[in-house]
């Protein structure tokens, strides 16, 4: 017994990366355990019921899981844990949703007591129809999503084998001219298509859009794409025109400003969740065409009402794209039951190792506040403290020094507070993109930045999502949304796109020492450190010298 894996009593798995069997072990545990942390030596995976059910959905059985644990474990695996794994996995697939020629949709059980148990639940009763035979009960097709959600909450996830409608056919091909889908992107598309519906987890910058395009080319049907905001919608459109046989005319944008419904329609979450007089006026979008595929970008940000709409769309193929399954609101189970199980997952570092993501050098610059600033900080109101220490003048100086140091490189300065950004823009003589900047202006600036006409861009948090700045090699973060780990990951993602010259990206985080800024930074960085991006710490004084 000298395996690379240590099974902990709290159901975490510790994988020693440098062990000779580590890769083999990683391959067998990845289907059922979520990678939680991936720092340099020991990676932490966690076994959760959802993870085990994901594995079941992917065709793994309990025996494989137990074998994997026992085979690679360094110490004896607690018997109770193995039993628990087997029991949890056995819960998936006892109930199946299938098509029925007469009743439309039926719920069938291979284990009658389970069916009895769930039928006794008050939450299930309104969702089911008549009992067709001891093992089968009719379900109204419109409750397909609801019942899956409810059953998962009861701990008996149903396997959805009821299939999908093909939707309105529409010719979509990949235009692989001078480029090709990367191997992992192909795997992701295949995994999704084979599973029918589900989520593909890829790190930022790993080309999730292309996975979407690949899925569309597989489906060859009208597609509804849901994205987080307008900039991102344009980005998708641009990318689709470039990478597929689709033309501008075939792609519609459904946003606050434009309401086009075309064979491929890109809608923002915001417009869908706009509520007027208690109703969602834009819901009809879902019914306006016979969609063959629905794509969800950034599933981890999917707003709650969209889940509700999704529940009614269970007969259509759904593909979720995300960098992480972790949701700050803990609704991972809804993603599982409504969009589908995880179909593909590739850790950040692995893709980096394959050269598809630029390696990044993360540096935390510790700034010493001046005595006057320290005093002012000490006397500031609690709610003002973060703002104060995040926007100190000393930080500005350091930022200027950093920009000067990387003169000639495409540099992004990212911050939270508009006045700080305005001031920085002034000092650095760089344009500032913030909430009030018009979309046209934004795209113009982005374009100029892309072309290298301007080399420094100051952006507020509007740039957090889905903008594509291929040539940004340096990002300087001066302030953030408190301790948001997701934001940190997104921002790092800005510089992770592969660089033309292949040189290392730099991510600076300017932090005021001995203040809550430092605490927040520590919290944010923990996520990156867990992803294997270790921070280096540099004293500002050294930079300013």
């Amino acid at each position: 017994m000298n395996g690379p894996l240590i099974v902990q009593s709290d159901k975490t798995l510790l994988l020693e990366v440098d062990h000779e069997q580590a890769d083999a072990c990683r391959r067998v545990i990845a289907p059922f355990a979520e990678l939680e942390r991936a720092p340099e030596h020991i990676h932490t995976y966690r076994i959760t019921p959802l993870g085990l059910w994901n594995a079941r959905a992917a065709g793994h059985d309990a025996e494989q899981v137990v074998d994997a644990l026992v085979q690679y474990s360094r110490y004896p695996v607690p018997h109770a844990l193995l039993v628990d794994v087997a029991e949890t996995m056995a819960r998936y697939g006892r109930l199946t949703l299938t098509k029925h020629p007469v009743h439309g949709l039926v719920l069938t059980s291979t284990d009658r007591p389970v069916l009895e148990e769930i039928l006794r639940s008050k939450k299930v009763q309104p969702l089911v129809g008549e009992r067709l035979d001891p093992d089968t009960v009719a379900v109204h097709p419109s409750e397909r999503g609801q019942i899956k959600q409810t059953l998962l909450k009861l701990g008996w996830p149903a396997e959805d084998l009821a299939g999908y409608v093909d939707g309105e056919a529409h010719r979509i091909d990949l235009d692989e001219n001078g480029w090709a889908l990367r191997p992992y992107q192909k795997q992701a598309v295949e995994g999704f298509w084979h599973g029918g519906s589900g989520v593909v987890v890829l790190p930022c910058g790993a080309g999730k859009t292309l996975v979407g395009a690949g899925a569309m080319a597989q489906a060859k049907a009208t597609t509804l794409i849901l994205v987080t905001n307008t900039v991102s919608a344009r980005q998708w459109k641009h990318e689709l025109v470039k990478r597929t046989s689709l033309t501008e005319e075939e792609i519609g944008e459904y946003s606050g400003t434009r309401k086009e419904i075309r064979p491929v329609t890109i809608a923002t979450y915001q417009v869908l969740t706009t509520k007027r007089k208690g109703i969602y006026p834009h819901l009809e979008l879902f019914d306006s065409r016979d969609w063959g595929l629905i794509l969800y970008d950034e599933v981890h940000l999917l707003p709650a009402p969209v889940f509700k709409f999704t529940a009614d769309l269970q007969a259509r193929r759904r593909l979720g794209l995300t960098a992480t399954l972790v949701r700050e609101d803990g609704r991972e189970s809804d993603v599982f039951s409504l969009i589908g199980p995880k179909r593909f997952d590739a850790p950040w570092k692995e893709i980096e190792a394959q050269g598809y993501i630029a390696p990044a050098d993360c540096v935390e610059v510790r700034v010493n506040l001046t005595d006057a600033e320290r005093l002012a900080y000490a006397t500031a109101e609690t709610e003002e403290k973060y703002r104060f220490c995040a926007t100190t003048a000393t930080k500005r100086k350091v930022t200027e020094a950093l920009v000067a140091k990387h003169r000639g490189e495409q540099t992004l300065v990212i911050g939270q507070y508009i006045d700080q950004l305005d001031e920085l823009g002034e000092h650095l003589d760089a344009p500032v993109i913030k909430g009030e900047t018009s979309n046209a202006q934004r795209e113009k600036l982005f374009d100029a930045f892309r072309q290298g006409e301007i080399s420094v861009l100051v952006v507020s948090k509007v740039a957090n999502f889905s903008i594509d700045l291929p040539e940004a090699t340096v990002a300087i973060q001066v302030s953030g949304t408190f301790g948001s780990r997701q934001e940190e990951a997104q921002r790092l993602g800005r510089v992770l796109r592969p660089k033309a010259d292949g040189h290392e990206a730099r991510f600076y985080s300017v932090v005021a020492r001995d203040t809550i800024d430092q605490d927040f930074a520590a919290h944010r960085q923990r996520f990156l450190a867990e992803q294997g991006y270790a921070y280096r710490i540099v004293d500002a004084d050294e930079l300013l010298k």
Binding site: I6, H41, Y75, A534
Partner: protein, 843 residues
């Protein structure tokens, strides 16, 4: 058996014992050690003591099911019993090879235990045992048999007996004895009985079917149905009381084809391997058990480490409060039942005890510190041995004792004398399987129930309530797994060693009562054997950890103790199991600094014990915390000396005479002193300086202005001559009070029928009247609405006189308007000493 020739059969148990060899007597005393206390004077005394009820009950309770069945069968057989009769009763008419094989052993056991004496043809059950086992209406026998014909007909009229004989077409006899004999011989004759029953109406057979396996009693109405009447006429049902009938034993035995028990169980049920016997690899079992054993050790250490500086308080009734148990369970990340097990384990192992102080708390014992220094395997062996031999039973925690009091962990009333024997026996049963085989727990329980059947009336029933022994056995299986004695349900190698040297082959049935605890020497040997077996399986402690940039340290296995202790201070434990994950936080680093480590210490420590370079963020974290640690210093001083001239302070510090003042230099211009300001001032003056005192605000205090003041005081209120002038309200109230009081005191009473009962004078004591008189007068007053003068003694015993106008009398209380108090009040009648009518309306 068969040592005593049938011809010279002993007449008493004492005689039988006298004929026994030394070994046989030794065996008896070993099986029934209660006979030894005190050592009996002679064999007669021994025999007497062996026949006492308490001793016999104790012996019977320790018999296995078949031996007990044998004793029960003997109790329903005619006295003295013949071996063949016994065989027939147990094996039935058709015989049973297994019974035949097992019976000699069972009889021999009974004989060894002096429950049975006499030779093969004349087996006698000790009288007390017979009384205990023979069926009687009040105490049904497990055999479900009723009384014999002779017993059941004891009070029957001879005429009735003759009628029964006639109904059965037997010749009449002259006396009841021969009638009974005739009837008995009919019932015991299988052929004739068969013919008789062939004639019976089919409903009658149904009735018999209901009674045949017991209980044999049935209720009848005054006019029974024809089938019951037929049975009664033929003596197949005999009257037991006016309303009940009983199926006589001989008839029942015929219907049962001679069997005393529905099923004789001559062979103990086998302990079977679990159906889902996964991976029966002994090595796998040992590894799993060793892993669990290691977890057990770390849990115990964690628990006691948690209570390192004193645990929770001891309840006044003894034991641990439920709240504290919950807290402990949460700390150990387990459920309460499990927490109770760990607590009891440490307690029985002597690692934990109450400290015996005034505010009694639990705390680790000195033994714990010694225990910690032992190698892991020996530590485990000590725990496991303590568990195996303890009578304290952790499984009871959370339940209630006979008086309904909750049983608390570490509390009293937790001892169950059977516990060690059950634990040992369960493990022995596990040991009887092939190594590495897990048993089916049900078969283990069945086997235990066979070996020690529950006597009816000796506790819980069969339905729902599970008897204590079975529960203990179930606990044993669970606890053995937790402790790592078993792995994946099968007994591990080290667990086997714990049981002592193997006795070789599975023990023969007769030997099974020999589940005796080991002697101290044997225990020590077993412990060290277990430790030796376990040692190579336990992971060897590591001397290094892996440090990572996300500020965690992973110990990929158990750590050497000093390392683990330091790390536990320096970092928070995030995840436990085979490995330990530590997380460094500013708080944890500060803790280490508070514990007296310096930053450079910590750097060196991490560099020494890390296999990998120390990540930069971690060094920064330590430096950051260290930089601010102790930046502010806090201490206590009584006074200070401040001077702008450093040289003068140097001078004072250097002066020998200032040494008693506890002066310390805090800054070039400040000295702190332990002496209070006044002393300091005087001392410095006496040395020859001219210090001045400072106020808290830093002003110089001027001595001349020094004056003594009281705390804030209010000026005295003027005291006028005489009371203040009364106002109208007061006056009217006063007048009313005076008038009412006057009324009570001076009013003339109507003369009553008994003037002697009256109090001496109007100004004198209370009116007196008898209670009947009182009641009548009060009731009359209610009717007339007139006022009364009463004497009343209040709850404090103070007597008073009042004038009341009664409104209502009920339930021993008078509700009345009290003129004296000017309100409606209620008076208990018994407190009214007497009443008198008022002569006249005073108004």
């Amino acid at each position: 058996m068969g040592t005593t020739p049938e011809g010279s059969s002993p007449r008493t148990l004492a005689e039988a014992l006298r004929a026994r060899s030394e070994q046989e007597l030794t065996a008896l005393l070993r099986a029934r050690p209660d006979l030894l206390n005190p050592v009996p004077g002679d064999l007669t005394q021994l025999a007497t003591r062996a026949s006492t009820r308490a001793s016999v009950v104790r012996a019977l309770e320790r018999l296995d099911r078949f031996t007990l069945q044998t004793a029960e069968a003997l109790a329903v057989a005619p006295e003295p019993g013949r071996y063949e009769t016994l065989l027939a009763l147990l094996g039935g008419d058709d015989g049973d090879l297994e019974v035949e094989a097992a019976l000699p052993g069972a009889v021999e056991t009974l004989r060894t235990q002096a429950l049975v004496w006499g030779g093969g043809g004349r087996l006698r059950l000790v009288r007390t045992a017979r009384e205990l086992l023979t069926p009687s209406p009040s105490r049904p026998s497990p055999t479900g048999l009723g009384p014999t014909v002779a017993e059941a007909t004891a009070g029957m009229s001879p005429g009735r007996l003759q009628e029964i004989l006639a109904a059965n077409e037997l010749p009449t006899t002259h006396d009841p004895v021969s009638a009974v004999t005739a009837l008995t011989s009919l019932f015991t004759d299988r052929r004739r009985m068969g013919e008789l029953l062939d004639q019976a109406p089919s409903e009658a057979l149904t009735v018999l079917d209901r009674l045949v396996w017991g209980p044999p009693y049935g209720e009848v109405t005054a006019s029974p149905t024809p089938p019951v009447r037929w049975l009664r006429d033929h003596g197949l049902l005999l009257p037991a009381s006016p309303r009940t009938v009983v199926l006589p034993r001989e008839a029942a035995l015929h219907l049962r084809a001679g069997r005393a028990h529905r099923t004789a169980e001559p062979v103990p049920p086998a302990v079977l391997p679990a159906r889902t016997a996964a991976s029966g690899r002994p090595a796998g079992v040992d590894e799993a058990a060793a892993g669990q054993a290691y977890t057990a050790l770390s849990t115990v250490e964690e628990l006691l480490q948690d209570w390192h500086e004193g645990g929770p308080p001891v309840l006044r009734a003894g034991g641990l409060a439920v709240r504290d148990l919950k807290r402990t369970a949460a700390a150990l990340d387990t459920h309460e039942q499990m927490a109770a097990f760990w607590l009891e384990l440490t307690y029985t192992a002597g690692l934990l005890a109450a400290d015996g102080e005034a505010d009694e708390r639990y705390a680790p014992t000195p033994v714990y510190d010694e225990w910690l220094t032992l190698p892991a395997a020996e530590r485990w062996a000590l725990l496991a041995d303590a568990w195996l031999t303890a009578t304290r039973t952790a499984g009871l925690v959370g339940g209630h004792d006979g008086k309904g009091r909750a049983l608390s962990a570490l509390g009293p009333e937790m001892d169950r004398s059977a516990a060690p024997e059950v634990r040992r026996r369960v493990l022995e049963l596990l040991a009887s399987l092939e190594p590495g085989t897990a048993p089916d727990p049900e078969t283990v329980l069945a086997r235990l129930r066979w070996e020690r059947p529950l006597r009816p009336g000796a506790g819980a029933g069969s339905d729902g309530v599970v008897d204590l022994r079975s529960r203990m056995a179930a606990w044993t299986l669970a606890e053995a797994e937790t402790l790592g004695v078993t792995g994946r349900g099968a007994l591990s190698g080290h667990g086997r060693a714990l049981l002592g040297p193997a006795d070789g082959e599975p023990q023969p049935a007769a030997d099974r009562a020999r589940t005796a605890a080991l002697t101290t020497v044997e225990r020590a040997a077993a412990q060290s054997a277990a430790a030796t077996a376990l040692a190579p399986l336990l992971p060897t402690p590591l001397d290094h950890v892996l440090l990572q940039a996300d500020l965690t340290a992973v110990a990929p296995g158990p750590l050497e103790r000093p390392l683990a202790e330091t790390l536990a201070v320096l970092a928070d434990i995030e995840s436990k199991g085979g490995a330990t994950v530590y997380r460094f936080t500013p708080g944890s680093v500060r803790r280490a600094l508070d514990a007296g480590r310096s930053a450079s210490d910590l750097h060196t420590f991490l560099a020494t014990h890390s296999r990998t370079p120390v990540p930069q963020p971690l060094s920064y974290l330590i430096d950051d915390v260290a930089r601010r640690h102790g930046h502010l210093r806090i201490g206590a001083a009584s006074a200070y000396v401040r001077c702008d001239d450093d040289a003068l302070l140097d001078e004072i510090l250097a002066d020998k005479r200032s040494q008693g003042l506890g002066l310390r230099r805090l800054a070039p211009t400040v000295l702190a002193a332990q002496a209070d300001p006044t002393t300091l001032l005087q001392s410095l003056r006496s040395i020859g300086y001219a210090p001045s005192a400072e106020s808290p605000q830093g002003d110089v205090l001027i001595t001349r202005a020094h004056a003594h003041r009281t705390p804030p005081r209010t000026p005295p209120v003027p005291v006028p001559d005489g009371p203040p002038a009364p106002d109208d309200t007061l006056l009217s109230a006063a007048v009313r009070a005076v008038r009412a009081g006057d009324l009570a005191a001076t009013v003339e009473r109507k003369p009553t029928a008994a003037p002697t009962a009256r109090t001496p004078g109007p100004g004198g004591g209370l009116p007196r009247s008898t209670s009947a008189e009182t009641l009548a007068t009060v009731q009359a007053a209610v009717m007339t609405g007139s006022a009364l003068w009463i004497g009343y003694v209040n709850a404090e015993g103070a007597a008073s006189q009042r004038v009341i106008a009664p409104v209502r009398v009920e339930g021993g209380f008078v509700t009345a308007y009290d003129h004296t108090a000017d309100e409606v009040r209620t008076y208990p009648l018994h407190r009214i000493t007497g009443v008198a009518e008022l002569a006249d309306d005073p108004a």
